[in-house]
Each structure stands twice: as C-alpha cells, then as structure tokens.
Chain length 143, copies 6
C-alpha cells in the first residue's frame, strides 16, 4: 500500500458448511444451562447450514487488477474452516473450537483467528456468520 | 369442489427449523455406514437450517377469497413439524421420525404423513425440504 | 406444435410491484370481517412488495431458439399487470380487480385472466404470486 | 467493555412486516405532492413487504458466549416495531410514526429511536430497511 | 419401482456456472440477427452467471433412505455440464452446444440430453436454467 | 448538512446487468496470462449476471423525507453504468472501461469514478459488485 494512487478495495468470499452444535457451558450445571440456553441446550444438539462471508482488504495489484485471486481466498477459507467444520459437530469435532460455547459470536471470533495472518497480500477485515436467514454475527477484530 | 366454475388453486407456506442429524442405518455395521454415507456418517452428527415448503390445493372460498388462511396453514405446519423438529436431533428426539435414516427424502415423506388429512378444506399436494441452497427433496405423495 | 420433434419448453418471467390491500368482503358486516380476516382487515389497509412469476409454454422456434423473447413476455406482464398495480391500492384503484377480496389467491386468478390469450405463440401455464417470503399462491388455470 | 481482551462483536436480527404507506407531505398542497412523489403519492396508498435488519454491538459475555440471546433481540424488535407496523398503514396507524412522510429514510430513523436505549447489554449500531429488493435505507445514528 | 409401498420422490441439485454467449443464428444475415435479437446480438457477446437446477425422480432405497447420494448427482452435473461450460463461451467452446443459438431454452434442452440416461437409479424429470433473477427456462423432456 | 439535528442516512440502489469479460493483461504474453488467470483467461471469454449496489449518503430533506428519490438514483446508475454495460463485452465495448483488466475490483473502481460527483445532493460512499453468489468486490473510495 505504498503507492498512494492505488485504490484499496475489499473482496468477500461466501461459503457454506453444515454442522451440529449445542449451546452448553461446561463450567455450569444442567439447570443453569437449561435456564440460559433454553431449546438450544437440547442434549442431543441441533444444527445449521451456516453461511460464512470472509472479507479482506488490500491494494489492487496493477498487473492483475485484483487484490488476490477469488479462487485463492476461497481455498484458504476452505482449508482453514469449511473442511474442518462441514459435516461436523462443533462442540466435539473441531480442535480449533475447543473450550468455547459454539455460539455464532464465538465461532466468528475463532474463524477470525484461523484466518488472520494467513491471507497473503491482503488484510482480514470482516467475518460474518449466518446461522439462519434471521440471525447473523459479524466480527471485525475489535476488543 | 362441487361448483365447476370455482377456481382451484395452490398455496404454499414456507417455514424454517434448525436441527442436527446423522446419516446412519441402524441395521448395518460401522464399516458399511462409513462407506455409504461418508462424512454424513460422522458419529457426533452435523446439522442444517432446514427450509420447508408445504403446498395445499383447494377451491377458492367465495366469501373469503382464499383456500384457507395462510396463518392457519402456517400454524398447522408449526404444530405438527416445526415445533417438534426445531433445535432437535432428528435421529433421537422426534417420535414421528423413529426408525428411519433422516435423509431429506425420508424426512419429506414423514412430514407428508404428519400433514396428510390434517389440513381442513384443502388437500396436501407437495412437501419440499431444502437442506442447503444446493440440495432439495420434493414429495408429492407418490408410490 | 405440429412438428413432433420440436422440444416444448416453459419460460418464466419474474416481476415485482408494490401495492396496498385490505382483506374485506363488501357483502358482510364489520364484525364478520374482523373475525374472519383479523389484522388483515385493518381499515386503513396494509401492503406488500409482491413478486409475480408468469410461466408460458410453447415449442422452441427453430430459427430463434426461443419460445418467445423474454423481453416481450416481460413487456406483456408489465402492460397488463405491473403498471396497473404498482404503487396502487388493490381494493380501489385497479379496474380488473373490482369486486373481489384481494387475497393472493384471487389476485393470481385475475392476473391469469389478464394474461390468458394475450401472449402470442405461447400458452399460459402458471401464475405464482408471493406476498411475502413465506406466503405464495399458484394458479394453473384449473376449476 | 472493561476487559480489553474480550472481543466486541455485532449481531443482526432480520424481521419482516407488511404495511401500507403513501408519500405525502401534509404541509404542502396536492400539486406539489403529486409533482414531488409521483406514483408514490397515489391517494389510496401502496405498500411493501418490509425487511428490517437491526444490528447491535457489545462484548461477548464469557459464560454464555453471546452478546445477547438472538431470541431476546428479536423479541425487542417485535414488540417495539414489528407488532406495531405489521398489517398497518404507516401514515395513520402507528403512533410513533406520526408527523413524518413515511419514506424508508424516515422510517429507519424512527425505528432507531424506538430501539435506542432499549436493548440491555448492547449498543444499537445499525438499522437497515428494505422496501424492495432494489431499495434500502441504512441509518447508523449520525447527524 | 417394483415395490408399490416405496415412496417415489424427487431430488434437486443446484449448481452455477459463468459463461459468455451471443444470440446469433448462423444461417441468417446480420440485419435479421440484429432485428431479431437486439442487444443480445452484440458482436462481442455478453454473459451470465447461470443457475442450473437438475431434478431426478426415483424410489427411496430402503437401506440408505435416499434416491441417490446428493453428492453423486452433483458430481454428474459437474462432469457433464458445469466443468464444460464454466468460464467458457457457449457459442464456440462447448462441443455439445454446437449448432444452436445458445438461448436459455436451447441450453436447457441440450443439458437434458447430456444428462438423460446418465444418472444411475433415477430418472431425469426437470432441468431449470436461470439466466438472471428474472428469466428462467424449464425443460421436462416434452416434444 | 448544515443543520446538526438532521439525520444523515444512506440509501442503496441495486441493479443488474449481464456482460461478458475475459481476464487478460494486454501488456503480458499468453503464457503469463494463462498461468495467472487460469480458466478466466479463456480466449473467447466468459460472463456474469452482475449485481451492482450503489450507496449514497446525505441529510434527510425535511419536506420530502428522503435523501433523494430512489427513482433518481436508479436512473443515474442506469444511465452511467447499466445501459453501457448490459449485453456488452467489458473488454471491448465500454469506453470508460478501456485499459483495465476487467476484474470485479477494477470494475468497482471505474463504476465509482463514473458516479462520483454525478449524484446531486448526496455523497457516493460505497460501490459493491457481485460477480456470483460467492464473489463480491466493495469499493469505498480509498487509496
């Protein structure tokens, strides 16, 4: 981003994965969990067809005209997130999700951590995760 | 449908529910199940945000101008299907799904059976179930 | 459709219009209307961004490779329906809707009547009208 | 937001309501209104199936893993906006909309005012209102 | 389909591909082509992000609970259509499209021919091709 | 924006156009282009049904209640972009796209330049261009 005349732009890659989860805090008892999470605490879990949008920002490379190849961004998201989460149980099957209640919010943060620093030539700026058509979490790296 | 001048029309109600499932045939061993269902046989399950379309057909009632109130159709689908499946595990938690592999196809047939004969003044003609944006099963009652 | 080797195919044109309506049967009193239509009987009306799908069927013309130009179908739907209904009140402003309760079902039938016989070289086979993402009426001309 | 290691995240809840409206400025005469608002000034009104997205921001609560329960956010939006606007005429039936031309822009601002300060544990950051698939207004509280 | 108690069901697989095309009939002169196809006859072509829905019908296999694996259906469509059309010019680059004006209608028929008889255990019943959100062709094999 | 009590709001207009393009850098040889752009370098091009979202920001005018008429914004986008790109080849047919590789990123920047300063009473703040359901570029004017 040294050349001040180069446009800086964002690109978004959208993926899907299908996974089970259960909202349950390990450190609390059953009564608290049922009270807090209601139907989402169902012992055998439920699931979602998750929609994941990953957005990165960078200068447009003069020769190619892109920030990076959409194909490469999709591939990085597939390797680091989709292949590990698709057809999985997010409470038990995904190492990088260990130790959290798998809410949309916590998933978005962990997905951010999986991707940050892993995208050559572009900067991660936004992870949006849709659980349903109604519910979405958006993380932009803030604390 | 006695009056031959009355238009006969279809109405569709669209709902969603979020559920876990695992493709696994109880009568077969683990090797067969893994070989047949692949990732979808994952022991801890996965899940979907299911989209369900229920279509009924009937004559337009002359005074109201409808086949039936959309609200009533939605309510019947909610009582008989959505409330029983939402935030559930379809392999273990739903009595009317007992004894099947919970594929989209088998779910559509059982949903049909839950609804057939339960919709006053209209005839069930189509149940469509989307697991993802790519995969859909459609049952119209045929054998 | 004389040449039995010519494929017969359907094409669908999708349009939108924004209109107000009120579910109210003129021949019945206020109490009956409130009881029957509930919130949809609200005296000042409510409205929808309607989505309309019109499907016609015909043989593929050998030289052009189409049933008819999508542009022409869209234009006929625009002239006969969209321009007359968009930004209108369906209870009071559209002559061809006079005398009906403007339910999705009745609208679909009247739209069918507006289009039938008006599409050169193709046969009207389906009118689908979405009031919302959840509610849809589909008319195929049956009585 | 005291703990600087806690991620701060946004969640969005999406709802729908169906309402009538008419673009008409009470303080101006008919000619000005017709000239300014065109078809949207139609005396009997028109309407939309509105899509409303409400976004709030807050720290992820360590025990629950969420900013707030999606269900609670949806409920607040339902109580304060959807139930009051659904199946209504926005010019005449909704007290908190009195005195405005009910454009998408003015609706978004009034919806913001209905919600601001009413969401425990999170800060309202964005209200987006879609009238159609083509037209959308987005308010983030700025003046 | 020998067992008359087995439900017969349909499944749909949805795919996308991005291609260029030009509406132009080789056997006619430039004037006729311009007059007939208008903007779509533009000499350098235009293009679409095509959405393709392929539907097959068959009995539910008792052990697996499916007509066929969604994954297998998707793979067949990918091999026979998507990989050959994606990032291609439909007028010049796809052998099985030679000799036609690449309208949505003609594409749907050729796609049908590519798939018919190639899907083990199920019968092809519907090919739907969307050029845009407004325009769609649907072929069910009729002549 | 002089009155500090006037809300400042954004409105978005969404349009579509269908165009062909080929990713190819004129200044580099065939081998480099094939290596860099892969399938997207196909000599005869491919295409997309592009979805374009244009967002502007401004104060709500007190009398009308809008930033500007949605109709006017749509018209400006139609004149300056959609009519020039629809049914065109973006490599050869659109003067304001000369000299670039027509990636989504470069298109978004040129569309920004076509619109900046051309929208009375509002400030351009965002151009988003979708090539497919998966790939999107977003430009907000930054360098």
């Amino acid at each position: 981003m040294n050349d001040p005349t180069t446009p800086v732009i964002r690109i978004t890659s959208r993926s899907h994965f299908s996974a089970a989860h259960r909202l349950h805090a390990e450190g609390r008892d059953e009564a608290w969990n049922r009270e807090t999470f209601g139907k989402c605490n169902n012992p055998h879990g439920h699931g979602h067809t998750y929609e994941l949008e990953v957005t990165v920002e960078g200068p447009i490379a003069p020769e190619t005209g892109w920030v990076m190849d959409f194909k490469d961004l999709k591939q990085i998201v597939a390797e680091r997130i989709v292949k590990q989460c698709d057809c999985r149980n997010l409470n038990s099957d995904v190492p990088f999700l260990a130790g959290i209640v798998p809410t949309a919010e916590n998933l978005a943060v962990r997905f951010w951590e999986q991707l940050e620093g892993a995208i050559p030539g572009a900067r991660l700026v936004r992870v949006a995760l849709h659980e349903t058509e109604q519910n979405q979490a958006i993380y932009t790296g803030g604390r």
